[in-house]
């Protein structure tokens, strides 16, 4: 996945700047966690269409888009055919750099061959503040929408949640804490 990781230089800049500031100030560096969740990555069939969901509907920020080199590590990891053409997009929220990636797979029959079963096997969960706005935009975009659902949190809060599928049937659940 050599190419997939090239994007990370972007989000690395901010921590380095912060780290350098600490060094100048004489502070000790904070120990790094042994493991750190970097991002989730969905394969999609068309990046422009997918961005209309993750950027325009959900409000994530597009950080970068680049083509991935043929034969890169992504081909092995995802078990993709060699003829496939890959593009890689990284998205962030205001407080989370590069938390989501979209890998576009073109020039292969993978998606046409029904590479997705009816049962979703993975989902991402996003907290949103403009819940109704997201739902309105998702409906306008023509996404598959599940019914809204009310929930309570482990600490006694309450909120609303709703699931939707992007154009490649990747599951997205949004929620908003009401109280």
């Amino acid at each position: 996945m050599q190419g997939l990781f090239n994007i990370r230089n972007l989000w690395r800049l901010a921590p380095y700047a912060f780290f350098c500031a600490l060094m100048v100030g004489g502070a000790q560096a904070v120990a790094q966690d042994e493991v750190r969740f970097q991002r989730s990555n969905h394969l999609i069939s068309d990046l422009d269409t997918a961005l209309s969901v993750y950027r325009d509907v959900l409000g994530l920020k597009l950080v970068a888009v680049r083509a991935l080199p043929k034969g890169g590590y992504a081909y092995e990891l995802f078990q993709l055919p060699a003829e496939a053409d890959l593009r890689f997009a990284v998205l962030s929220s205001d407080s989370q750099s590069n938390i989501l990636a979209l890998t576009e797979v073109k020039n292969t029959s993978f998606f046409e061959a029904g590479g997705q079963s009816a049962l979703s096997r993975v989902g991402i969960v996003l907290e949103v503040q403009d819940f109704d706005g997201v739902i309105a935009r998702a409906k306008t975009a023509g996404l598959t929408m599940f019914a809204e659902n009310a929930f309570t949190t482990s600490d006694g809060g309450a909120g609303r949640q709703q699931g939707l599928l992007d154009f490649d049937h990747n599951l997205i659940v949004i929620y908003q804490i009401i109280k």
């Binding site: 996945m1 690395r12 969740f37 590590y73 929220s93 993978f110 096997r121 403009d130 929930f151």
Partner: protein, 160 residues
């Protein structure tokens, strides 16, 4: 689908915030050691899901399935990962090509790789990581027991 709040009000929240990724697994007791013992994530809690859990609808799960839900985190990223166990239905392995991945930065790269192999997981060949800004490192992919893709990486060299 139970929501777990991570952040304390009244700090102004961003318009959108990534809460977690969630993989479906067929046996939580088998899956958890991969994410805890192999990868080093912390198990936050495990709970039986309610019969009216929203996950049934959004994941399109047969209502006859019994569901358990586990949440995992890191010291600085609480609840960043979840596993949903389904019992009582036929849950085939995730088909290839994989449709999604989680990517984790691991300081004990060799330890994770060794433990993944010892656990009998499908482990891909290690890749050389060279970033656009000249950083170099290692990366490795492997599949959990249900075929969910996990990618770990370690940065070894930073450019001057």
């Amino acid at each position: 689908m139970t929501q777990i709040t991570d952040e304390k009000p009244p700090v102004e929240k961003p318009p959108v915030r990534f809460q977690r990724s969630n993989y479906i697994v067929s046996d939580l007791d088998r899956a958890l050691p991969v994410y805890t013992d192999v990868l080093g994530l912390d198990l936050v809690f495990v709970k039986d899901s309610a019969e009216d859990s929203y996950s049934y609808e959004v994941f399109q799960i047969d209502r006859s399935a019994k569901m358990r839900f586990a949440v995992l985190g890191t010291p600085t990223q609480p609840n960043c990962m979840a596993l949903t166990e389904l019992k009582g239905i036929d849950l085939a392995d995730v088909p290839l090509p994989s449709r999604s991945a989680i990517v984790l930065e691991c300081t004990d790269f060799d330890g994770v790789m060794r433990r993944a192999k010892a656990a009998g997981l499908t482990v891909f060949e290690e890749g050389n990581l060279v970033t656009k800004d000249g950083r170099k490192g290692r990366e490795l992919g492997f599949l959990d027991h249900d075929g969910n893709l996990i990618v770990i990486y370690l940065i070894l060299e930073h450019p001057e």
